[in-house]
């Protein structure tokens, strides 16, 4: 397996955003890379970093994380997302080359649509334990389960929370108007 399971280290020489994007395209198809965003800073807009926005299907997601790990141990930021009707779209945010020097960081945001008929994602906890709170949060806020996540206890919602209510959903699983108390 390609994932650096046993010895973890950050690589100190970065690959270019184009190289990483090409590798993603070659494994997951042309349409997998949505955009390479250049971010600049300072007076002359000379230095900054790049973000790659990608999209993969749920069943290819673990392969995607393993593909990132071919380059560097992926620093995990967070899972964001939205209830998009028939789907819950999750965005996983990673960083490659965080120690490879000035302006070398490469942000990777990968969108994974999860069909509401089967709200289960493969967990990446065994690869990156730092994902724990985000997977637990996504589980309680969106109702997306994670296959392989050992601790599925509530993380941010209170113990007495009615777990049938998923706060970030926009359908009948989400909070109804009566569940929301306006304080001002």
């Amino acid at each position: 397996m390609s994932f650096p399971m046993n010895s973890v280290d950050n690589v100190t020489v970065a690959k270019s955003p184009a190289e990483v994007a090409d590798r993603i395209r070659s494994v997951f198809g042309e349409e997998a890379v949505l955009e390479i965003r250049e971010r600049k800073a300072g007076k002359d807009d000379t230095v900054g970093h790049h973000d790659i926005w990608a999209k993969v299907e749920k069943d290819r997601f673990l392969d995607f994380v393993d593909t990132l790990a071919e380059f560097d141990f992926p620093q995990f930021h967070v899972i964001s997302g939205n209830d998009d009707g028939d789907m819950v779209t999750l965005y996983y945010h990673f960083t490659l080359f965080q120690v490879a020097g000035r302006g070398k960081r490469l942000g990777i945001a990968v969108a994974v649509p999860v069909d509401k008929k089967d709200l289960v994602m493969p967990s990446i906890f065994s690869r990156i334990p730092g994902v724990e709170y985000s997977e637990r949060e996504t589980r309680e806020m969106f109702g997306v389960d994670f296959d392989g996540l050992p601790n599925k206890a509530l993380v941010f919602l209170p113990e007495e929370w009615d777990e049938s209510i998923k706060p970030w959903r926009r359908d009948e699983a989400g909070p109804s108007a009566g569940d929301v108390r306006e304080l001002s």
Partner: protein, 411 residues
């Protein structure tokens, strides 16, 4: 054999930012395992943002945290500016960097002071807090406020650097260059303080990476990560910032509380240098992309896209993700990941094989909210007897260990 206990520390003290519960498994005084349970004060801020436009969310994001309020605002704005492709004038970028560094100064000084207080080193605590007042004064001159400065807005900042402020900043830098070193020396050279901080709450390099630790917590474990270096934003695009790691000073990163102290105090010096560079290089020009707020709102209403920003807040990488939908006035969705969210995952590893008396220090060492430990309940599982240990008693326990060390000459 030592008795086994399960001890919860936390969760709550009203009004403070990050109350958290740590369930500690103890054998006698030794911590053998820990489970962390946040969630005591989840305010649903991301949910609230759905009813607000991006300008209104600025003031919501400022209230995520009292200490690093400007970090959250800047990260949120950078995510909005990324989603809507809004440029920020150079002068505004410099002012943002200035306030970010001022915030880092007072945050790190607060932490260093409170760390000393936790081990019973009260004179150093008072020294730290007295030092911190100077930077608070500068923030007050800039914005009129000591917290929640209301400085930034979409595409720029609302307050300019006046000659008066420039003078105050200059005086502050001079003051700290003279006065901060005695504080640093008094703590790092003190054998008792060193004995309390060294080899306590260790997080190894590999653990820090695998558990996605960020900021000074990760750097203390030797990870050379700093978003100001790896992905320069705002004024950091014009000068380089090197990540502060203990191996550059002591040849080795222990990843303990002492290293977390060391990283933060050296970052104070680093921030002073950055502030000098920012003030020296401050470009002339506009401080806003668009002064007319209605035009900004109309532009944001038309904008469509998802924006992502991560910046180096005092506690580490702060990440915000924002989605704007064309034709929609409000923020469609917003995700905030504060640095403690990432660092709290490493707590159970830091607790392992430490003493109960070190638990307050370890919780404090990633720089969350110390008041999480307002009260705790100790249960003797063999008899079912319960005893509430107050915060004062727990603090006394922590200080007693320092006194014991002092009597034994630091051993």
């Amino acid at each position: 054999m030592d008795k086994k206990y399960k001890v919860p520390i936390g969760p709550v003290h009203v009004g403070l930012k990050e109350p958290i519960t740590a369930w500690l498994d103890l054998e006698g005084e030794r911590i053998v395992g820990a489970t962390v349970r946040p969630g005591a004060i989840h305010r649903g801020i991301e949910f609230m943002a759905r009813d607000r436009n991006p300008i209104q969310v600025i003031y919501l994001s400022e209230r995520i945290c009292g200490i690093c309020s400007f970090s959250h605002v800047t990260t949120f704005l950078r995510a909005v500016e990324d989603a809507a492709s809004i440029p920020v004038p150079p002068r505004a970028q410099y002012i943002r960097s200035l306030v970010l560094e001022l915030e880092r100064l007072h945050s790190h000084m607060l932490w260093a002071g409170v760390a000393c207080y936790t081990i019973g080193f009260d004179s150093a605590f008072h020294l730290g807090m007295a030092l911190r007042e100077k930077v608070m004064d500068v923030l007050e001159v800039l914005s009129g406020n000591r917290v929640n400065y209301g400085v930034a807005t979409v595409g720029g900042v609302r307050w300019d650097v006046t000659p008066e402020l420039a003078k105050t900043v200059k005086q502050m830098v001079k003051y700290y260059k003279q006065e901060f070193t005695p504080f640093y020396d008094v703590v790092t050279a003190d054998p008792i303080a060193k004995a309390r901080l060294r080899n306590v709450g260790v997080l190894t390099y590999e653990e820090a990476l695998r558990h996605s630790a960020v900021g000074p917590t990760a750097r203390a474990s030797g990870v050379r990560c700093d978003l100001r270096e790896s992905s320069p934003y705002e004024a950091y695009g014009d000068f380089s910032v090197r990540a502060v790691v203990p191996q550059d000073y002591y040849g080795k990163a222990y990843g303990d509380v002492f290293d977390r102290f060391l990283v933060r105090v050296h970052e104070v010096y680093q921030s002073l240098e950055i502030i000098e560079k920012v003030m020296a290089g401050l470009p002339e020009g506009d401080i806003m992309w668009e002064k007319n707020l209605n035009k900004v709102l109309a532009f944001l209403k038309k904008a469509e896209g998802t924006g992502w920003a991560s910046i180096e807040a005092p506690r580490g990488d702060d990440t915000h993700v924002v989605h704007l939908k064309g034709g929609d006035e409000n923020v469609t969705w917003w995700k905030v990941r504060a640095p403690t969210y990432a660092n709290a995952i490493s707590w159970p590893l830091m607790f392992k094989n430490n003493e109960l008396a070190d638990a307050p220090l370890i919780i404090n060492s990633i720089d969350p909210c110390i008041s999480c430990m307002e009260r705790m309940l100790a249960t003797d599982s063999s008899t079912g007897a319960r005893k509430v240990v107050t915060r004062a008693e727990l603090l006394e326990k922590c200080r007693e260990k320092t006194r014991r060390l002092m009597q034994n000459g630091g051993r």
